[in-house]
Amino acid sequence: MSVKKDSSWEPVILAFCCNWCTYTGADTAGLNRMKYPENVRVIRVPCSSRVNPQFILRAFQKGADGVLVCGCHPGDCHYATGNYYTRRRFMLMQRLLEYNGIDPKRFQAKWISGSEAAKFRDTVIKVSAEIKALGPNTKFAEGYYAQNEGGNE
Amino acid sequence: MMKYSYFPGCSMDSTAVTYKKSFEYVADKIGLELFEIPDWNCCGSTAAHTKNEKMALALPARNIALSEEANPGLDIVTPCAACYSRLAYSTYAARNSEETRKEIEDIIEMNFKAEPEILNFLDLFSDPEVKEKCREKMVRSLKGLKVACYYGCLMSRPRKITGEENPENPMKMDAIIEMTGAETIEWDFKTECCGASHQVDAPKEARPLIEKIFRNAAANGADAIVTACPLCNMNLDMREEEINKLYSKKYNIPVFQFTELLAVAMGAGAEQSGIHKHFFPAFDRINEVIRANWEEEKKKAKEEAKKNPLADGPIVVGKAGK
């Protein structure tokens, strides 16, 4: 079941969520039966600082249309300083992706604590709407390069 | 620099005549340059902001606009607490919302940037340069006079408009009065309200406010109360006898404007300082203090002369004018 690219197209968004805050927030959203679009898939990581920029590039390469990195609010990190590094890394990452022609909205970092279930749902709704508006991401996508060698949009 | 744009306000020419006289004497003595705003209008005081907010912002704004035109780059200084508050409100509103500033500009049909700072007389006389000049000009000491500094409400509140750090116990006037040698006492009604215009339109409800001020001043051993606003001064000075009758009290506390004491300390006579034109007798209290200090100085000078006869005679300071 490869990712289809037609009009009723649904974006695929990958969300790296830190186990102590955002993953807990996502679970709380489930507990309260909040509803949000299906096109976000969560990968659980111990801390948002575990997310290596390499994973983001790999996600875009494998056809993700949007990537989210979510963690605790600065100061609340279970590992004290983890999310400070996240913040710094992903400011640079956003500029790198922009430099490579990927719309910065396709990659976002958000601070969502364990009790902010509504914020998690709203973020998912907002991001998936934004990505849907942007349309499929062809930059970096392996499939795309294989089909027509040119490679630029 | 000692140059200010001056907004006198409606009271200066009528009820606050002693404030005007003593202020002008002191300003002249210390070389303060004041440029009155041409064709200034009434700031609207309590009446305007009781009627509607736009009028309350527009009336003072016209004065500020006139000052920006006639006295560019100068801060505006005003004696009355209500004018100060209303001018400051318009400035605060304009600076905080571009939309309001434009709205006011349309109403007064002048451009109004709200650049000048609004200062009341306590801010003016707390300026280090002005203070230094005042100290130089002091010739008489009012040592022995125990003074309760009364700030009223609009000089220190609301905090977001006046920037006063400690509205419960401000110290600006205390510091100014201490220059004259008088001693300022600690008391608790520094910023309790005097009832302002309610003394006219709701006398029965507002009179107790004045009595409480006198009661606390007396309880803390004040010989005199000093104010910095024409209306506070009038409410206390004009109605002290009435309060004594109404509440069968024997308060004997004259009420001065702080510029009157500055003027006297700088050698002004009754005429220039206006201390003989109070509703409640005030001249004698000042006279006793000056005479006492003068005698003491003479006695000290005599002992000085005895100790080393070569020194020249006692320095007799200017005669206490009638």
């Binding site: - | 009820t15 009434c42 609207g44 009446a47 509607n52 509140r157 609301p158 905090r159 309200c193 339109d201």
Partner: protein, 186 residues
């Protein structure tokens, strides 16, 4: 008739007044510190705390009928000491303006004095304090009020014939008209 809270029509009006004053009346936990410090509270029929409570309930009628919003001296002691930074003084002022617009007045003399004051500004551009006092005495019927101070006023040189007026009177008239009926600007 019993006070049906959920039917209070004033709720929208109360919300608008609170929003205009930049205050969230929900924050008030009715501690009474404003009433305790209010210099005029002894003569209030509705304590400042109760005015805020009426705003919470949306019971605007109670406020409009009250004397309190007129006797308030807007000295800001309440706003300064409120633990939740509720600007009680501004709320009182907004209620006063709203009450006037709706034709209520709990203390005639105060409204009368302010009206005369604004009229003197409209005509002279500057407030003529002593004339203001005289006109108020006549209009309010307290003819003798403060008359015992006149001799001293003469001695002090306050009662002087010349009138101090603004030269550009139209500017002032225009400001008054524009802001009064909500004229051009709303």
């Amino acid at each position: 008739m019993d006070k049906i809270l959920n039917r209070e029509e004033g709720r929208l009006l109360a919300e608008r007044i609170a929003k205009e004053a930049g205050v969230n009346v929900r924050e008030c936990y009715q501690c009474g510190k404003c009433s305790a410090g209010c210099p005029m509270a002894d003569s209030f029929d509705l304590m400042p705390r109760q005015v805020i409570h009426c705003l919470q309930l949306g019971d605007m009628e109670e406020i409009f009928k009250s004397k309190s919003i007129w006797l308030c001296a807007s000295c800001h002691t309440c706003s300064e000491r409120c633990p939740h930074e509720i600007d009680v003084a501004t709320l009182m002022e907004k209620c006063r303006i709203e009450a006037q617009a709706k034709g209520y007045c709990g203390q005639e003399d105060v409204k009368l004095f302010n009206d005369i004051f604004t009229e003197t500004i409209r005509y002279f551009g500057k407030s003529q304090e002593v004339i203001l006092e005289g006109a108020y005495n006549v209009a309010s019927g307290h003819l003798v009020q403060d008359m015992e101070n006149v001799p001293k006023m003469l001695k002090k040189g306050i009662l002087r014939p010349e009138m101090n007026t603004v030269r550009d009177k139209d500017a002032i008239k225009k400001i008054m008209e524009k802001t009064e009926e909500g004229g051009a600007v709303k």
